[in-house]
C-alpha cells in the first residue's frame, strides 16, 4: 500500500495550556477510507486543522505524496489536493448550488461569468461522482443531505484527492446516511482517499478500511477495521469498557407534569415554525422527541423554558398555567433545561466552574444573605457537584474555558440536575461529547426520571432518543407527526420515514398514542 499522507510527531498546545496533540504520528494510505476516532477533546479536530492549515503546530512535520508539505492556509491545502467537509457547512444559503460550487473558480467568457458553462460543469461533476444535486436550486431550499453533497462536490471540483469528512453523518437521517456511504464507496473506487471522523462506531465499522484511535492528544492504536469489533474500538477510545446499552428499569408514569396544548409559533414573515403542537409528559417517564434538526425543536424548547413567547396555545407545568412566563418563573416551578448549545446558553465561558454552578440558584437563601453572597456555601456547592458529576479539573475555581467539551457539558448537567427539578428539558444533551460522558449523562437522565421527575428529551441522535426514551414522538415541519407508546419497539427505518415527512400518522392514531 502506498502512503499518501504522513504526519510525524505533530504537537499542538492551545493558548489555554491544553496539549491537544502530543507527538502524534498519523499515516493514511492511498485509496482507503481511514477512520479517525476518539472522545471529545482527544485531538482529532486539532490534527485535521493542522493538516488543513487552520492551526500552526508547535512541532512536527507533514509529508504528502512523499514530499514535505508546509500548509499555512486552507487555500494552500486545497491547491495541494486536500479538501475538507466541515461539520457546519460553509455555503451561502441564498445562492444556487452552481454558484456555491464554482465560487472562486468561475468559468469565464471574456470578462463575464459563463453561467451555462458553470451549470454544465456542475452537472458533469455530479454525474461523474454519483452525487446527485440540483444545480439550479438555492441552498436554503434543499435538504441537509443535499447540502452536504454540495460540500463534497465543492472539494472535488477543486481537485481534492484526499477528503477529510468531519462527522459527516451527525446531521443526516438513516436514509441520507446510506446514500452518503454509497457515494463515499464510489469515490474510493475512483481512487480518492478519505479521512472519516466520527463518534458513531457502527458507521466506522461499516464504511472504513482502517482505524486510528486517539485519546488525550495521543494515538493509542491503529487497526484494520475488519479485525476489531465496536467494543474493541470503544475500549481503546475510553481506556475502559463502556456499556453501550442503557440499563433502564421500566417506567412508572404518574401524574402529568408538562401539558402542551395547540402550541403555535410563527416567524415574523408568518411562516409557522410550530403548528398545533400538543403532548404531555408525566412524572417518572422520559418522552423523546425525534426529528431532523430545524423542524421546530429549538423554538419548542425555548418556549417551554421561557426564553421565547408562543403565539398561541397553552402550557401548564404541574397544573400552573405558564404560557409566556419568564425563565425565572419556569425555574422557580422546577423546570431544568439542558440547552442545545452549551457555549451559547449553558455557560459563561470566562467565569469559573463555581460561578457557573450557581447561576440558577444564587438568589436562594442557601447562597446569599440579604446583601452579600455566602462564599463558603457557593464553594461547597461547587465542590460537591464537581465530585458527584466527575468533572475533570484541578479546581472548581478554574474558568470554564479551560475544560474540554464533555466536561463543560457535565458542568451544565450538574447544575440542572442538582436543582431538584420536577421537569427536565434536555435538548441534545450529549451532542459532541465523548462516549464516557454520553454514558454518564444517559444514566443520570434515567436516574432522575425514575426518582420522580418528568423528562422531555429532544435529540437528533436516533440511537439516543430510541434507547433512552420510554415514549417517542416525531416532529416534522413544526408538527408532531407520529407518536409511539413504546420507544424501543420502533425501527430506525420507520422513524426515518416520519422524520423526513414521507409518512405521517393519522389524527386518530396520533390522538390515541398521545392520550
Amino acid at each position: 500500500m502506498e502512503t499518501l499522507l504522513e504526519m510525524k510527531a505533530i504537537t499542538k498546545v492551545y493558548p489555554n495550556g491544553v496539549m491537544a496533540n502530543d507527538r502524534v504520528d498519523f499515516r493514511v494510505n492511498k485509496g482507503e477510507i481511514h477512520a479517525l476516532v476518539g472522545e471529545n477533546g482527544a485531538g482529532k479536530t486539532t490534527l485535521m486543522k493542522v493538516l488543513f492549515g487552520l492551526e500552526v503546530p508547535d512541532g512536527g512535520e507533514v509529508y504528502y505524496k512523499g514530499k514535505p508539505l508546509q500548509v499555512t492556509s486552507p487555500l494552500q491545502a486545497i491547491r495541494n489536493g486536500i479538501g475538507m467537509v466541515h461539520q457546519h457547512f460553509m455555503l451561502a444559503p441564498s445562492l444556487t448550488v452552481t454558484e456555491n460550487l464554482v465560487l472562486g473558480v468561475e468559468p469565464r467568457k471574456g470578462l463575464a461569468f459563463d453561467w451555462d458553462q458553470a451549470v454544465q460543469t456542475v452537472t458533469d461533476l455530479s454525474k461523474r461522482y454519483n452525487l446527485p444535486v440540483d444545480p439550479l436550486a438555492k441552498i436554503e431550499d434543499i435538504p441537509i443531505g443535499m447540502r452536504q453533497k454540495v460540500e463534497i462536490l465543492k472539494a472535488l471540483l477543486r481537485g481534492a484527492e484526499l477528503l477529510v469528512l468531519d462527522e459527516p453523518t451527525a446531521v443526516l437521517t438513516p436514509q441520507e446516511t446510506e446514500e452518503l456511504f454509497t457515494a463515499l464507496v464510489g469515490l474510493k473506487e475512483q481512487g480518492h482517499t478519505m479521512i472519516f471522523i466520527s463518534h458513531k462506531l457502527n458507521e466506522v465499522k461499516q464504511i472504513t478500511d482502517r482505524i486510528t484511535v486517539m485519546r488525550g492528544g495521543r494515538i493509542v492504536g491503529v487497526r484494520d477495521t475488519a479485525e476489531v469489533s465496536e467494543a474493541d474500538i470503544s475500549r481503546l477510545m475510553v481506556g475502559r469498557d463502556v456499556i453501550l446499552k442503557i440499563d433502564k428499569p421500566p417506567a412508572k408514569p404518574q401524574k402529568r407534569i408538562l401539558e402542551v396544548q395547540n402550541l403555535s409559533y410563527f416567524t415574523p414573515e408568518g411562516k409557522a415554525l410550530l403548528q398545533d403542537v400538543s403532548f404531555s409528559v408525566r412524572a417518572g417517564e422520559i418522552v423523546g422527541i425525534a426529528g431532523v434538526e430545524g423542524n421546530g425543536q429549538r423554538e419548542l424548547v425555548e418556549i417551554l423554558t421561557g426564553l421565547r413567547r408562543p403565539h398561541g396555545g397553552l402550557i401548564s407545568v404541574d397544573g400552573y398555567q405558564m404560557s409566556g412566563s419568564t425563565p425565572r418563573q419556569m425555574r422557580d416551578l422546577g423546570v431544568a433545561h439542558i440547552p442545545e448549545d452549551r457555549m451559547l446558553h449553558g455557560v459563561a465561558n470566562e467565569a469559573s466552574i463555581e460561578e457557573n454552578l450557581i447561576a440558577d440558584r444564587v438568589q436562594m437563601p442557601e447562597y446569599t444573605r440579604k446583601v452579600f453572597l455566602k462564599t463558603e456555601a457557593i464553594a461547597s456547592n461547587a465542590q460537591t457537584l464537581v465530585t458527584e458529576f466527575n468533572v475533570r479539573t484541578r479546581s472548581p475555581k478554574t474558568p470554564i474555558k479551560m475544560l474540554s467539551g464533555g466536561n463543560i457539558q457535565k458542568v451544565v448537567v450538574a447544575r440542572e440536575f442538582s436543582s431538584n427539578p420536577r421537569l427536565v428539558i434536555a435538548n441534545q444533551p450529549t451532542r459532541g461529547v465523548d462516549v464516557g460522558a454520553i454514558e454518564f449523562i444517559h444514566k443520570k437522565l434515567v436516574e432522575i426520571c425514575r426518582a420522580g421527575a418528568a423528562v422531555l428529551l429532544i435529540s437528533a441522535d436516533l440511537n439516543e432518543v430510541m434507547s433512552v426514551s420510554d415514549r417517542l414522538l416525531v416532529i416534522y415541519g413544526g408538527q408532531i407527526v407520529a407518536a409511539f407508546p413504546e420507544a424501543n419497539e420502533v425501527s430506525e427505518e420507520e422513524l426515518g420515514l416520519y422524520m423526513l415527512g414521507i409518512q405521517t400518522q393519522g389524527d386518530t392514531q396520533l390522538k390515541e398514542a398521545l392520550a
Binding site: D22, G217, T305, L344, V347, A348, A351, Q363, F372, L373
Partner: protein
C-alpha cells in the same frame, strides 16, 4: 494557571507602559533642546514638592471615580461613554444643592454628594432604560446624552445660579457647609479622597460579593447564559447604568465641592473619557482602578510640569497614552511569548490539564 494569567496580564501592561514611555522619550530627544532636563521634570517632577504631590493626588480623585463608573458598566457588558455628561450633571446638581438648600455642616456635604449621585444616575438611567425598552444602543445614547446634559447643565448654571459679580461665567460661591474640606495643607487634597476610597471598596464588594454584582458579571460575560439561568438581563442593563452614572456624578461633585468651591466649568472636563482609559488599563477591576488612576494622573502631572519648565509641550502625554492603550488592548501583543510559556508548562505537566 489562573495566577499565571494574572501575572501575564500585569507583565503585559507594564511592558506596554514602558514601551510607550520609551517612545515618548525618543520623541522628546528629537524635539527638545534640553532633553535631559525635560526627562527629569517629566519623570520626577510630580514628587519634588509637597504642593506637586498634592496636585497629583487631587487629579487622581475624579479619575478614580470615573474609572470605577466605566468599569462597572464594562463589567456588565455595557458601554458607558456618557460618564462625561454624568459627571458634569452631577457637578451641577451638587452645586444646586449647595446653593439652594442651606443645611448644617456635614449634613450639607452628604446631601450634596447624594444629589450628585442622583444627577449622574438619572443620566445613566436614561441610557439604560432606552436600551432595555427599545434596544437603543447605549454606546450612541450615552455619547449623545453627554451633549444634552452638558448644555442643560450650563443653562441651569448660567441662567439661574450665575454669580453676576464674578468676572467670569461661574456660579455663586458655595457655602462652607458644603465644602469637601482640605486635609493636607498646603495642598488642596480634600475629603474627596475618602469618597474615592469608599467608592473603590463599594465597587469591589458590589461586583464580587453580592448577587446583583454576580448577575451583572454573568450578563457581561454571556447575556444569553444569564437570561437562560433566570437572571433578568433588563434589570442588569438598567441598574448597571444607574450605578455607573451615580459614581460618575460623584467625580463631578468632588472637583466642584473640593477644589473650586463654585461651579466654573464651561467645557466638559474630559474625566469621563479618561475613565475609559483607566478602566481599560485596570481590566475593569475596581482594585486596579486606583493604580491606573494614580499612574495616569502622574504622567499628566509630570507632562504639565515639563511643559512649564522646558520647551516640550504637555501634549506629549497624549501620544504616550495612545500608544499604551493600543498595546494593552491589542490581544496579540506578546501572545507568542505567552504561548511559548504555556507550551513549556503543558509539557511539564503532561497532557490535558
Amino acid at each position: 494557571m489562573i495566577r499565571r494569567e494574572l501575572v501575564f496580564e500585569i507583565g503585559r501592561t507594564l511592558i506596554a507602559i514602558m514601551l510607550a514611555l520609551l517612545l515618548g522619550f525618543i520623541i522628546i530627544l528629537l524635539v527638545s533642546e534640553e532633553p535631559l532636563e525635560a526627562f527629569q521634570h517629566f519623570v520626577l517632577g510630580p514628587l519634588t514638592t509637597t504642593r506637586r504631590i498634592g496636585n497629583w493626588i487631587e487629579a487622581t480623585i475624579p479619575l478614580v471615580l470615573t474609572g470605577l463608573a466605566v468599569s462597572i458598566a464594562f463589567q456588565a457588558g455595557q458601554f458607558n461613554i456618557g460618564a462625561e455628561g454624568q459627571l458634569f450633571f452631577g457637578a451641577v446638581t451638587a452645586t444646586i444643592v449647595g446653593i439652594s438648600f442651606p443645611l448644617p455642616m456635614y449634613v450639607h456635604v452628604l446631601v450634596a454628594l447624594l444629589g450628585a449621585m442622583l444627577g449622574g444616575a438619572l443620566v445613566g438611567a436614561i441610557s439604560g432604560l432606552m436600551k432595555a425598552r427599545w434596544g437603543a444602543s447605549e454606546l450612541v445614547s450615552s455619547l449623545m446624552l453627554n451633549y444634552v446634559f452638558y448644555r442643560f447643565g450650563l443653562y441651569l448654571i448660567n441662567h439661574h445660579f450665575r454669580d453676576p459679580n464674578a468676572g467670569a461665567m461661574v456660579s455663586y460661591r458655595l457655602p462652607e457647609t458644603v465644602w469637601l474640606q482640605w486635609i493636607w495643607p498646603p495642598t488642596r487634597v480634600h475629603w474627596g479622597l475618602w469618597v474615592a476610597i469608599v467608592a473603590i471598596i463599594f465597587s469591589y464588594l458590589f461586583i464580587y460579593r453580592t448577587r446583583w454584582g454576580y448577575a451583572l458579571r454573568m450578563t457581561g460575560l454571556n447575556k444569553d447564559f444569564a437570561a437562560y439561568a433566570g437572571i433578568s438581563v433588563t434589570a442588569v442593563v438598567i441598574y448597571s447604568q444607574v450605578i455607573s452614572g451615580a459614581i460618575a456624578g460623584l467625580a463631578g461633585a468632588a472637583d466642584v465641592l473640593g477644589l473650586y468651591r463654585r461651579f466654573q466649568w464651561q467645557m466638559l472636563p474630559g474625566y469621563g473619557f479618561d475613565g475609559i482609559i483607566i478602566a481599560t488599563l485596570a481590566r475593569n477591576h475596581p482594585l486596579g482602578v486606583p493604580i491606573a488612576a494614580l499612574f495616569l494622573a502622574y504622567i499628566r502631572s509630570g507632562a504639565s510640569i515639563m511643559s512649564r519648565m522646558t520647551d516640550v509641550s504637555s501634549e506629549m502625554v497624549a501620544i504616550i497614552q495612545g500608544i499604551m492603550i493600543l498595546l494593552v488592548t491589542a490581544q496579540a501583543f506578546l501572545s507568542k511569548w505567552h504561548h511559548r510559556a504555556v507550551v513549556k508548562e503543558a509539557k511539564r505537566h503532561g497532557l490535558n490539564a
